[in-house]
């Protein structure tokens, strides 16, 4: 557990000082919002409300891909990833620390992105906040679990920008399905369907267990 906390601290301090990962994700998310704004100019407010969860999750997913890739690209600088791999004990704790740091940083970007979407599309997200926060938080756990498992493999290849999306996006389909359904219900003021929460919880659990146990092999050469 101490190893996980040490890595969480290290990633957050490094990001606080450089701010490059959060800035890159945030700028990308805002650009996605702007692109959709111009791509869908004639929509009525009720159509926008219906589309908003899907648009929001599109921005969330692609900015998370950017952040996850960057998270391990930074570990390659000075071969710091080898430094992590050398640490004794269960490497699952390394996964947990990296995943927790990714979750915190991606969540910050998601909160700011939601604000930008609300502003651009004139949607009042305040009444939906508790439900939306639950669904987004759970969905992001799954994204970070799968992404933190796959990113170290992807960044050590010559196709790092391409490989992570190709590996990760198919794994995120169940998360996307549950998250969009749950977010749609929250934005529309309906209770979040139990099936959506169940899908998110089960997928999160599976990805967390697989990644915790599998990270040992991921860090091996």
């Amino acid at each position: 557990m101490n190893v996980a906390l040490a890595i969480l601290w290290k990633d957050l301090v490094s990001e606080w000082r450089s701010r490059d990962r959060v800035m890159a994700m945030l700028v990308f998310s805002i650009l996605v919002a702007v692109v959709f704004y111009f791509a869908l100019p004639m929509l009525r407010p009720e159509e926008l409300s219906a589309l908003a969860p899907g648009l929001l999750w599109t921005a969330y997913l692609f900015s998370a891909l950017l952040g996850l890739n960057r998270s391990f690209a930074l570990e390659l600088e000075n071969d710091a990833l080898a430094g992590l791999a050398l640490a004794p004990g269960n490497r699952g704790w390394i996964f947990l620390g990296k995943a927790a740091a990714n979750w915190v940083l991606i969540s910050i970007v998601q909160i700011l992105t939601a604000g930008v979407f609300a502003l651009f599309y004139g949607i009042d997200l305040v009444p939906a906040l508790p439900g939306l926060a639950t669904v987004v938080g759970l969905g992001t756990v799954g994204i970070c679990a799968a992404g933190t498992l796959l990113a170290p493999m992807a960044v050590r290849t010559g196709f790092r920008e391409v490989l992570l999306p190709v590996l990760l996006l198919p794994a995120l389909f169940p998360i996307l399905a549950g998250a969009v359904e749950g977010s749609g219900a929250a934005v529309a003021g309906r209770p979040i369907p139990f099936a959506a929460l169940q899908l998110l919880l089960v997928t999160d659990g599976i990805y967390l267990i697989v990644a915790f146990l599998g990270f040992d092999y991921v860090l091996d050469e």
Binding site: S18, N78, D79, A82, L86, P88, E221
Partner: protein, 232 residues
Amino acid sequence: MSARLLSLQAVDKRYASVTALSGIELELGAGQGLAILGPNGAGKSTLLRIMAGLAHPTGGKVQFAEGAPQRSRVGYLGHATLLYPELTARENLVFAGRLYGVEDPGARADQLLADEGLSGVANRRARGFSRGMAQRLSIARARVHAPELLLLDEPFTGLDEPSAQRLSLRLEGLAHEGHALVLATHEIDRAARLAQTALVLVEGMVKRRVNAEEMSEPFLRTAYAEALEASP
């Protein structure tokens, strides 16, 4: 020979169709120094990464003497520094100490910074360090958990002569303190000073061994040249 710390038996390493190491046999005693010499691409770094537990051999066995697990007994300094540029020197060492479960990582970091003459820059970010300072901090990082064995992969690369000289003296000091050292290098003079035995690797195979009785700079230089000449 001192008590055996590490032995490699018939170690092979292949990457797809490329053989990086073939049939490596070696033994290392506690507190002993071993130099691994060889041209670029000979397999020196791969051998060190296998000893460190960063890579697994495709065949053969790596055995440490009974005791703590492999990764906690080894300090590794590779081509890169393993440092985080946005963390200060002290934070880098405290972080490494926490990874290894060091009891008081702050006190250990302060002690290592003093050992390496870096106390004055303890709170400076590693990004601003010269190559020589970063190398000293890397050595401190490799020693944070007081390992029995230090694996040093081309530690003099990129250093100017005064920095290389200072590093060489520092490594001699560590050897005298009882650390076993494995040093992969091209620099025969420094290898002869730091190690009691040596082996010459060419194309992943041991072409020549130099034992403690034979070890001297002229002998090592000749042995190295002969091993290269004998290879196709």
